[in-house]
């Protein structure tokens, strides 16, 4: 069976190659080739899943060694795949949601002349993402890691005739590169510590390594995760990434790629378990981000950016859970999967809205859309209920567990983390309700655009609504399916390990607290946006609102410190290179020129002057000879 693993990656990779190299000939069928190969990968994933289910829990790891990639003295990197329960979960999520979004894109990108290219990039993304989760060593994982970065770059900048899209793509890649730097340093640290960076040797020898090294590795892995998963302080790219087509936002910037950081941390559980200091930092980062993202999400009027803030916040939950150690790993992944469903669904719904509204994204120009697009409204609504943790829906199960686990951390930390997670839940309820109300309820607020085209909101075609429906079903049922009988826990436990924490509060108390928060959040939002009409122009707002609209000033900080500083640095270096480094050399040359200008005067053209110097030279030679003899 393990022979099939390579096919998982090969199928979308082949699609990408065919679609990108094939040229215009494939324009008419390209999107179906892409969708087909993505689905093929999903089917292979299902086959492998069935195979794994048929085995004992201990034997559910398949290894496929393909070839030795980099063989150098003392350094060996292989192209080896590992399919275990953790990777299997991701494979199904990636290929499943991926195939749905391929299907959705067939409709969404219908009028784009570069649709074939779009599907090529999507397939490339799938291949890279699968490589990321299937790699058996960190270097191969790194390949996938950067590969998804590249695909993300290409897709964010897909409409690259818009300068804003091109800039956003570049920003995403650069910020990710900073994270990648962390990953590469982590790999180097592993190499110096363990002499290897394959999962087996590293995890097997954690006990022998010094605490300092392990903490360093953990922090570097966290840096990588921050980059990819848009965690503070490397979160600034995610909002801008919404410049990409909406299916991209759904697939890459909600369901899969941005969760790669969580995968990395959970995958490296052995390292983090042995480095509590690093774990603590992980929880702090997760907590800060979940509040940060939630606050940003409250202030945005752009529906996609509001959802992006929400994504950031939800991943903050996952990172928080992953940082809690064995008590949280499983729930991090569970929330990741359910989030994959409902957030993808929400984005697809947003895309559907934009599709019907001439690509308008400002929620202040929506309103009352539930009448015009019922399917979108229902699926979006189900996603909304799932994310705020409405009892019985998937978000309820997964998020609740994380909050519980946070309290179970114990001590003051537990109270702080758990409290923050509860506050986050309240804010989540607020901003999601706000999105819901502004988009689908109230008066219709759209106006004709500059050219006088009145938007005619309409339901999207079936090719788009079917994926939305499937995802909505997933977000409704997923949580219950996973949690009842601890199915998900038992499935993942052999890989990540699990332990029950000693929570100072009981599970029931947490659930009640969460419900209270939820009601508060929804209530405030309804008071603000449901009872009174939404102004078409954003009010000035409080200081916090204004800061949140600007992503809590992170971009301004980056601009002033990094961009401006960098510009000054490079500009002065260019100047210095010319005037100082080159100047020294040119100055030497000019000096020699001046000197020879002086010396040239000796060359006066009179043969007798030359004769004097010859004769003087002869005299010196005689003198030298005599001196040599005398000595």
């Amino acid at each position: 069976m393990e022979k099939l693993i390579a096919l998982l990656i090969a199928a979308p990779l082949l699609g990408a190659a065919v679609l990108l190299v094939g040229g215009r000939r494939l324009d008419r069928v390209g999107h179906w080739i892409g969708t087909l190969l993505s689905t093929a990968s999903f089917v292979i994933g299902l086959l492998l899943f069935a195979d794994l289910l048929g085995k004992n829990a201990e034997h559910r790891t398949l290894i496929q060694h393909l070839w030795t990639w980099i063989p150098v003295e003392g350094f060996q990197a292989d192209v080896t795949f590992r399919l275990d329960q953790l990777s299997m979960t991701f494979v199904l999520l990636i290929t499943g949601v991926g195939s749905l979004i391929h299907l959705y894109s067939v409709g969404y990108m219908e009028h784009d002349e570069r649709r074939r290219r779009f599907f090529g990039y999507l397939n490339l993304f799938l291949a890279a993402m699968l490589l990321l989760v299937l790699a058996d060593n960190y270097l191969l994982l790194y390949v996938g890691w950067e590969g998804v970065g590249l695909a993300s770059y290409l897709l964010i900048g897909f409409w690259q005739h818009k300068p804003s899209a091109a800039t956003a793509a570049k920003k995403a890649f650069l910020v990710n590169r900073v994270g990648d730097m962390g990953l590469s340093i982590a790999i180097m640290l592993m190499f110096t510590t363990f002499g290897s960076f394959a999962f087996g040797p590293v995890f097997g020898h954690v006990d022998g390594a010094s605490q300092g090294k392990l903490t360093a590795i953990g922090l570097m892995l966290l840096l990588a995760a921050c980059g990819k998963s848009a965690q503070v302080p490397l979160q600034s790219w995610l909002g801008d990434a919404m410049e990409g087509p909406t299916p991209v936002s759904a697939l890459i910037h909600a369901a899969t790629m941005v969760t790669a950081g969580v995968y990395l941390i959970v995958r490296s559980a052995a390292v983090f378990n042995a480095a509590p200091d690093a774990q603590l930092v992980v929880t702090v980062v997760g907590t800060v981000t979940l509040l940060f993202g939630a606050i940003v999400g409250c202030a945005k009027d752009d529906i996609k950016k509001a959802l992006a803030g929400s994504t950031m916040s939800q991943i903050g939950y996952m990172v928080l859970a992953a940082g809690l150690g064995p008590i949280g790993y499983v729930f991090a992944i569970m929330h990741l999967v359910t989030h994959g469903f409902f957030k993808a669904g929400l984005f697809l719904g947003a895309g559907s809205v934009m599709h019907g509204m001439n690509d308008e994204v400002d929620m202040r120009k929506f309103g009352g859309l539930r009448k015009y697009m019922p399917v979108t409204f229902i699926t979006f609504g189900l996603g909304y209920l799932a994310i705020i943790g409405f009892p019985g829906l998937s978000g309820f199960f997964s998020k609740d567990k994380i909050i519980e686990a946070a309290f179970a951390k114990g001590g003051t930390e537990g109270w702080i983390l758990g409290g923050a997670a509860l506050v986050g839940a309240a804010i989540t309820a607020f901003y999601m309700t706000r999105v819901m109300l502004m988009t689908f309820f109230g008066e219709k607020r759209w106006q004709p655009d500059a050219e006088g085209h009145e938007p005619h909101p309409h339901e999207s075609p079936a090719v788009m609504t079917i994926p939305m429906i499937v995802l909505a079903v997933g977000s409704v049922l997923g949580g219950a399916f996973f949690s009842i009988g601890d199915r998900f826990l038992k499935w993942l436990e052999p890989v990540t390990g699990h332990s029950e924490g000693h929570s100072p509060v009981s599970a029931g108390e947490v659930t009640i607290a969460t419900m209270v928060c939820l009601v508060i959040g929804v209530g405030i939002a309804w008071a603000q946006y449901g009872r009174k009409p939404v102004p078409a122009l954003a009010p000035r707002g409080s200081l916090l609102t204004r800061a949140a609209r600007r992503d809590l000033l992170q971009d301004d900080f980056n601009h002033v410190v990094l961009v401006r500083g960098g510009e000054h640095l490079t500009r002065s270096l260019v100047y210095l290179d010319h005037s100082l480094v080159d100047g020294v050399v040119n100055g030497t040359a000019a000096g020699f020129g001046g000197l020879s200008g002086r010396l040239r005067r000796l060359q006066n053209g009179f043969a007798r002057s030359y004769a004097v110097s010859m004769f003087g030279g002869a005299a010196l030679l005689v003198a030298a000879t005599l001196l040599m003899r005398a000595v």
Partner: protein, 523 residues
């Protein structure tokens, strides 16, 4: 006596250069085809070398040895180790593409000029450079190496000074002035380096009594040739200076941007992808091989200079307005990596550095040649003159992007493997330097993507709206390079297999062992 394969490999392009130059003025196209065929023949010979070379065999293979100047112990000694083979292959692979890419670069300005001869000269000079570079990679006699190391400057001088971009913002006269400035600067820098090296070569002869690399290395290893510490250090510095100019290492780098900026794109590739490799190659073969103690002594300073090159080159690349200058500074940054890998004195670092030479050659060729195609279409080197090219010429933009991604060492493409090996090799011995060098990864992304964004994306500028996409000849140049980049990125084993034994020898030359990992993991 067996067939002198190495001599033949270098002699074929040399003879080809003469033959190409002798083609009558009116038969311009014939000269081009002749040069292309000769370069392909050389490639065939180089492949034969590659096949005949046995990675598990002796250190130097396919050796040839003849007395040349008896009185000074100068011998015509050739031999290749794995590093040499890899670089010979790189050179032989790149030259046909360079010729093909420069197919029209030396055509007469007005058609029908039957007396125009520079076309023949252009291709003859390229072949001459190839011959000299090849023999530099093959020579195991220090004097023989020196001669060709220096002689290379002559054809390069004419290539830089005689053939520039056709279109120039300030007119042909200003272009000629700047070209000759660049050519003279190139010549002077390298000449000064070469002369200092000549002094060291003579000094080496005085100390050792012959010029044979193998004999001297053996004598030093067996202790029969004792060299005073200070003597060894001075000689090392003499050699290293010349190679550092050629490589080029900060702060001896300023000739490179000028030379690459003013010359045509194929010549710029010739400079940075082929000729400069002789410098880094010679550091491995001569500096480490002849002066191990001095190499260890100088390591800290050289590592810091290499580090400065990496960061400095990348930062300056960010600040450039000229496409070719940008690539030049990026190359300086990459050469910093190569030198870092060589002097980290670990197996990974040195294997990585050798691999880096090969990969950098291919990736720079891909990026620079596509940039050349772009420049020849619009007639401007300024980044600001472009915008939205992706829309009108998607294939050009796509290949440009892949070249750029290779430059920023994207995993999956060849340069990543080498860059990572260099970083790991450095990190195991010098963690701080390794971490700072990693910063180069981020900066590389910055300058590449800024370049791509400003030229290829955004609204289509009116001047580029009629730009044609890549032609068949141009696709023929770029596509194989991209295939190579991907192949070597996914499966670099063929190269590492050849390189590894040679690196082992070099490591034993300098008497260095790789640092042991903290925890000995079971393999």
């Amino acid at each position: 006596m067996s067939f002198p394969l190495l001599t033949a490999t270098a002699a074929l392009p040399a003879l080809g250069a003469v033959a190409t130059a002798a083609v009558p003025a009116a038969r311009r196209t014939a000269a081009k085809w002749l040069a292309l065929l000769i370069s392909l023949g050389t490639l065939a010979l180089a492949i034969t070398v590659l096949v005949r070379f046995d990675p598990g065999g002796a250190r130097y293979q396919l050796t040839e040895s003849h007395t040349w100047i008896r009185d000074f112990g100068v011998r015509y000694e050739l031999g290749v180790d794995g590093i040499g083979v890899a670089l010979i292959a790189l050179t032989a692979v790149l030259i046909p593409f360079i010729i093909l890419a420069g197919w029209h670069d030396a055509d007469p300005l007005e058609t029908g000029n039957r007396r125009w001869r520079p076309t023949q000269g252009f291709f003859a000079l390229i072949l001459a450079v190839e011959a000299m570079v090849l023999i530099s990679f093959e020579a195991t006699d220090v004097f023989l190496f020196y001669i060709f190391f220096e002689a290379m400057l002559i054809p390069m001088y004419f290539l830089i000074g005689g053939f520039g971009d056709r279109a120039h913002a300030q007119g042909e006269e200003a272009a000629a002035t700047q070209r000759s400035y660049a050519a003279v600067k190139f010549l002077l820098y390298n000449l000064v380096g070469g002369l200092i090296m000549l002094a060291a070569v003579i000094g080496l002869y005085v100390v050792a009594g012959n010029f044979s690399l193998q004999q001297i290395a053996e004598a030093r290893a067996s202790g029969s040739l004792h060299m005073a510490t200070s003597t060894e250090r001075w000689l090392f510095l003499g050699f290293f200076f010349a190679f550092a100019v050629k490589a080029p290492l900060w702060p001896l780098h300023t000739w490179l941007p000028n030379a690459m900026q003013e010359s045509t794109a194929p010549v710029a590739v010739l400079i940075t992808a082929v000729v400069d490799k002789v410098g880094t190659f010679a550091m491995l073969r001569f500096c480490l091989g002849l002066f191990p103690e001095a190499s260890r002594w100088a390591t800290p300073v050289i590592l810091v200079l290499a580090l400065i090159s990496i960061v400095y080159g990348a930062l300056l690349a960010v600040g450039q307005r000229d496409i070719k200058r940008l690539v030049a500074y990026a190359s300086i940054s990459h050469f910093g990596f190569i030198i870092l890998g060589i002097f980290a004195m670990t197996s990974q670092g040195q294997s990585g550095a050798t691999l880096y030479m090969v990969n950098h050659g291919i990736s720079t060729a891909a990026l620079m040649l596509v940039a050349g195609f772009l420049i020849s279409r619009r007639g401007s080197r300024l980044i600001a003159d472009y915008g939205g090219v992706q829309k009108v010429a998607p294939v050009l933009a796509g290949t440009f992007l892949i070249g750029g991604l290779a430059t920023l060492s994207l995993p999956g493409l060849a340069p990543f493997v080498s860059e990572f090996l260099v970083l790991v090799g450095t990190f195991t011995r010098y963690p701080v330097i390794g971490i700072i060098a990693t910063l180069g990864i981020v900066l590389a992304a910055l300058y590449t993507l800024v370049l791509y964004q400003r030229t290829m994306t955004g609204p289509v500028k009116p001047e580029v709206s009629t730009m044609p996409d890549l032609r068949v000849r141009e696709v023929l140049v770029v596509a194989p390079l991209i295939v190579l980049l991907i192949f070597l990125g996914v499966y670099p084993k063929p190269v590492t297999n050849i390189v590894n034994p040679a690196v082992k020898h070099t490591m034993s030359d300098v008497q260095k062992k790789d640092p042991k990992p903290e925890v000995e993991a079971v393999k």
